[in-house]
Structures are given as structure tokens and as C-alpha cells.
Symmetry: C2
Subunit: 372 residues, 2 copies
């Protein structure tokens, strides 16, 4: 961090502060619910069951506080392992300094913990990660002779579970992640969680819609489902090769070429302002004959929004899957295998609403003998 | 309309104008896509296939224009059947006067046509409407002696298909709808569409994300799948009892009581700022022993948003399904039958992303002998 520019430093501090302001933020929403319920005519209030939100608001207040204690652990871990920053203390009553987009990403970070590090997220991981791991094993089998020798890059690694699963299987795996929210949270879970079931979070208290019951909204999720060290087999003398690289994908790997045996992208390529730049980078970074395994939809992140917020909104191109495949061909990629798979993303299994992605799942090889 | 207040009249005109401004609105988005694609380095532009958006933008322009011609038919029908309004002419280049929320609802209106009035929407209707129609038949069978005698109310009737299906089965059916977008569109399809397959719309051009191919985005949808008159059997001498009632549900039926045999709500109750007011109204409106059939999620429409826009945001209460059932009990409703059903809402079958609702589906009876 020492060589970071002041703007980057300010962003770092601002994201860290938003972790600390979570409770104050969520309390405002809980207070809104309370105010609206208490504005109901008394006759109507009386018709609500003893289990109602109105009579159980303290459970939401407690859950938000419980989440804050967990998030504060992440902040502390970051303060210890990262650069020195002057972070103000916060109470639920101090005015919020964080922009709404940061605070809303803290909520998503809690959902990401469910996806990557809970028993509740197991089904989701089996939909998304299992086919990728199976395919990786098929194209690059691990043998005693190549243990930790085959290098696999996972851009958009989020909370690190997929990259760690890859490393645990005998690959040299590196996760790359841009978002500070994800980096702080993955730093914590990867380096500070020592045993399964160590923490409990309440990730579903934020949205009162589509709930079957109040109990569902308060449903606690235990994390991690497995200690990262245990997953890597460190306790059994394993010596895995795993690393995380912080930074924007194109910038972080700008000077590398032909150094990866496989690039795995899971719900990642649509995060590009221009997906073609990612494809070009994958081609450059892969060794000749290297593989690109992809699974995900094409929900382009920079499609909507104002250029005032971020210049990437002004660059967004939204290619169809057909166009992407054609472009891949021009970058010496040959698709070996292709299918569609239904996957979910940070799904709340108990909610009455869910988003299902009909993902493109393919394995492509970087042609070693490019045509003219 | 003559006795409408000036504010209501202004809203009416403003929604009608937004129908006319659709093309100008969509052209701005198509122009954005063009601008971003043309900003790509020339090397990258060359890598795009002949089928790419860049080389096929004129198809999107044509599709938007085609949609506008269809929407203008709706405007014309409304101008002929509704009150006189002074609607300005619009070209794609004149500055937009309509607020974004109106323009975005015009896009949804095109999606609603797919749901209610196309062959493409058949599967969706079978998920949502078929279980309701089957249940209605079970609790209130139609016999020669009660033809058109059993009165069924459908609040939130949208484009009228469900209410019309009910009328076509021998019930006296009334749809109620608040939104001018839906009222203009349903007026048109119910009263001006004379044969199946009369119109073609391009409802999926608005969102370039999650497309398998450009062809999917341009996919035309033919409407209606059946002429409303034919569905009602008017050509076979049928004399159905069908009507539409315009207005906010609670206001429109404020002075009625115990006059309906059944109320059917499909994706409706979560449109209430306070769902308890709807439940109270259903109880009042149903005859003793009358039925309430409901299918839908609990995606509360007024949960998020600013009170500056609409005071209903300041009233929103978001009850869980458990709470709703308890409240129903206090209003003399007894649930006879209950299940959960997966349904979609204006789903684009070709998209890589879809929202699935795990709907509450129940039949309740208004207890004829309320407990003290």
C-alpha cells in the first residue's frame, strides 16, 4: 500500500469505514419498518401475530449488531495486516459517511459468505464450482509428477473458495480480486478463520420481502463450513501453492504472458467494461495449449448507470454469447466443449423469489498453432 | 374522465404521452450501444461477426420503430374511446418530456403483452392462471342454472387475460386495474384486436445483457394468440358477463359490500402499501361463504424508494406469509387449501437470466359464522 496514490488510499479507507458503518446503516432500515408498523391503526396492529416483525424487532436489532461484531473482526484483521489507516469510531447514531453503493456491497459481502463458506451454500457451489473442478481435472489431470506444477488463475476470485478448492486439488492456484470489500472479507476468512463453524451471521435480515416467516429472515448461517487450512490439508502436511493477488485484472497482469496453464472464470467475464479486452488478456496470459474454462451468464455490470459515477459506464459493450464465441475464434481460442448450466448466485433458498442463470459453460484451448 | 381532478387529468395525459415517446426513448439506448461499439479500437471492431450488434443496429432501430407503430395504435384507440386530450406530436429527436418511470413502464407493458396475449406466454400462463382457473372451477362449479350468476372480481387485472378466461368459463367477471399503462393497453387488446396474430412486437430489444444471440434480442412476438371475442365465444352466440373497472382498488370498491362470490388475486397483494387493508376489503366485499383465491409472491412494491416520489413509500409494511395468514384469520378467513407453486412473471424464455417466484397459492373462505 505504501506506493499507492492518495485516491486509492482514500478509497481503501472509505470501504473499510463502510464495514464499520453497516449496523448504523441497517438500523435505519429496521427503524423504518418499526415506524411504518407503528403507524398502522391500532386495530390492525392487534391483528398481527405474536411472531410478527412488530413484536420481534429486537431480534433484527440483535442480528444487525451480531453481523456488525463479525464485520468488525474483518476490519481488525485488515488493520493488522494492511496499511495503517485512521478509521473513525462509529455508533449506530452517528451520521453515515459511507456512500450507499459501499453500504449495499457490505450486505452483498455477507451473502457472498453464504455462497463460498457455508453449508447453506453447498448446493450453490455444487451447481457452479463442481462442474468447473471436474472439467479442470479432465483437461489437466494431477499426477504425482506434476503436483503444484500446473498453474491456474482465477480472476474475480471473490471470497476465494473456488481458487482454494483448485489449490487443494494439487494445482498452483492464484485468485485475483479487485474489490476491497471482497479482499478484506477473503483476507479474514482465509487467514483468520481457524475452525469450521467459528462464526454465525444473519445475512437475510436486510430484505423483508418474499419471506415465508420472520424466522426465515432471522435464519443464522454458520461459517466457515470448513477451515481453509483444513481444506488445503495443511494439518496433514500438505504443501499447497495458493495465493491471492489484489488489483484490477487487466492492470495486475499487464506485464505477464504465456505463464498460466489454465484460466478459470466463474461469473466473471460480464464484469468487464469490454469483454474483448479480457479475452485478449486470457490469450496473452495462457501458455500455448493452455485452457480457458468459463461458467457464467452475461449480465454486463457496466451496462446501466451514469458516466458521472464511473467512466466504465461510458465504455460498456454488451456482446451476445454468439458474438463472444466468434471473437474467441479470432484470438486463437478453440472451443472444445460447451453446454448450458442452471446456476444461482448468492441465492437465499428460503426466499419466495430467486434468480436463476442459464450459464454458458465452456472449455476452450489456446491454439498452439494459430492460423495466419 | 369529466369529473376528474386536474392532477388526475395531467397524469392521464402524461402516461399517454409516454406511449408516444417510447421510440425516442429506446433510440437513445440504441445510440448508446452504437457509440460504445464504435469507440472500440478498430482491431477489435474487426473481430466482431457479421451478425454482431454493431453491424445490425438498423434491425434494432427498425424493431423500436415497429414497436412504436403498435404503441401508437394503443394511443389512437385511447384518444377515440377516452376523453379529449391535447397530445403533442413527437419525433425520435425531440427532447423527452416523460419521466423515466413512465418510459420504463412502457417497456414492461410490451412484456405484459407476452405474458397475457401471446403463444410465447402460454407456458407462463399455465404456471400462473391454470391452477387458479382449476381451483375456481372446484369451489364454484358452473352449471346451466348459474351461468354468469357467480360474480368473480380480479383486482390488478393488468392486460385482462385472467379475468377474460374467467368470464369465458361462465362467470360474471370484473377486472380492476389502476395503472393507466395497463388500462390503455388492455382497452386496446380487448376492444380493438379482432383476430389472432394481428400484431407483432419486439419486446426483448431493450436489454442487451444475457443474450445467447442478437437474433434472440430481435425475436418478434405475435399477439394476440387468440382474439378476445373468440375467447369469449361471441362468434358462437355466447353472452359472457365481462367488465373492466378503472381505478385504485380500495377507492373503486369503497362503497360495496358482500357482493362477490369470489375474489381472485394473482401477483397482486404485494402491490398494496398495506396488505392488511386489502385483506379487510376482501372480507367486506365477499358474500358470506365467498372465496378468496390467491397466487403470488410477496415482493412488496412500496418497500424501497423515497417518500418524495409517492407517499405510499412512507406507509409500506412488509408482512411475511405467516403474518398474512394470521391476519386473514382475524378477518374471518379460513384457509381451505394451501400450497407453493413456482411461477414466472413476464419471463423472457430465451434470456440467460430469469426470476422464479415460489408463490403462495391458497384458497380461503369467508367464514359465514364468524367467531365472537
Amino acid at each position: 500500500m505504501e506506493d499507492q496514490d492518495p485516491e486509492e488510499q482514500a478509497h481503501y479507507e472509505s470501504v473499510l469505514l463502510s464495514f464499520r458503518e453497516y449496523e448504523a446503516f441497517v438500523m435505519r432500515e429496521i427503524f423504518r419498518r418499526k415506524k411504518h408498523l407503528q403507524s398502522l391503526p391500532v386495530d390492525m396492529q392487534r391483528r398481527l401475530p405474536p411472531t410478527s416483525t412488530l413484536r420481534n424487532l429486537h431480534h433484527f436489532v440483535n442480528a444487525a449488531h451480531h453481523n456488525q461484531l463479525f464485520l468488525e473482526r474483518i476490519v481488525q484483521a485488515q488493520l493488522e495486516s494492511g496499511p495503517a489507516v485512521n478509521l473513525p469510531q462509529v455508533t449506530p447514531k452517528t451520521p453515515l459517511q459511507s456512500p450507499m453503493r459501499h453500504l449495499s456491497k457490505i450486505k452483498s459481502t455477507l451473502h457472498q459468505f453464504v455462497r463460498d463458506w457455508s453449508e447453506d451454500g453447498k448446493k450453490e457451489r455444487e451447481m457452479c464450482y463442481s462442474p468447473i473442478l471436474k472439467e479442470l481435472k479432465r483437461v489437466l489431470p494431477v499426477k504425482p509428477t506434476n503436483q503444484n506444477a500446473q498453474r491456474v488463475l482465477v480472476p474475480g476470485a471473490g471470497l476465494g473458495r473456488l481458487a482454494l478448492e483448485i489449490a487443494s486439488r494439487g494445482y498452483a492456484a492464484q485468485g485475483n480480486e479487485f474489490s476491497y470489500q471482497m479482499l478484506f472479507a477473503s483476507n479474514f476468512i482465509l487467514n483468520w478463520a481457524s475452525q469450521a463453524g467459528e462464526f454465525e451471521i444473519h445475512p437475510w435480515i436486510h430484505n423483508p420481502s418474499n419471506a415465508m416467516s420472520i424466522t426465515d429472515l432471522l435464519h443464522p448461517v454458520v461459517i466457515p463450513d470448513v477451515a481453509p487450512a483444513e481444506l488445503l490439508g495443511l494439518d496433514k502436511g500438505n504443501q499447497p501453492d495458493f495465493s491471492m493477488c489484489a488489483g484490477e485484472f487487466l492492470e495486475a497482469y499487464a506485464n505477464d504472458s504465456e505463464c498460466w496453464d489454465c484460466i478459470v472464470t466463474c461469473f466473471f467475464i460480464d464484469a468487464a467494461p469490454n469483454v474483448m479486452e479480457y479475452i485478449a488478456a486470457f490469450e496473452r496470459l495462457l501458455k500455448p495449449g493452455g485452457y480457458w474454462i468459463n461458467l457464467g451468464p452475461l449480465l454486463y455490470h457496466w451496462q446501466n448507470g451514469s458516466g458521472d459515477d464511473d467512466e466504465r459506464y461510458e465504455q460498456s459493450v454488451e456482446l451476445s454469447y454468439e458474438e463472444i464465441k466468434h471473437v474467441m475464434g479470432t484470438y486463437n481460442f478453440k472451443i472444445l466443449k460447451e453446454s448450458q448450466r442452471e446456476c444461482v448466485y448468492t441465492n437465499n433458498a428460503k426466499s419466495m423469489m430467486r434468480t436463476v442463470y442459464n450459464c454458458a459453460f465452456f472449455t476452450a484451448v489456446k491454439d498452439a498453432t494459430p492460423s495466419a
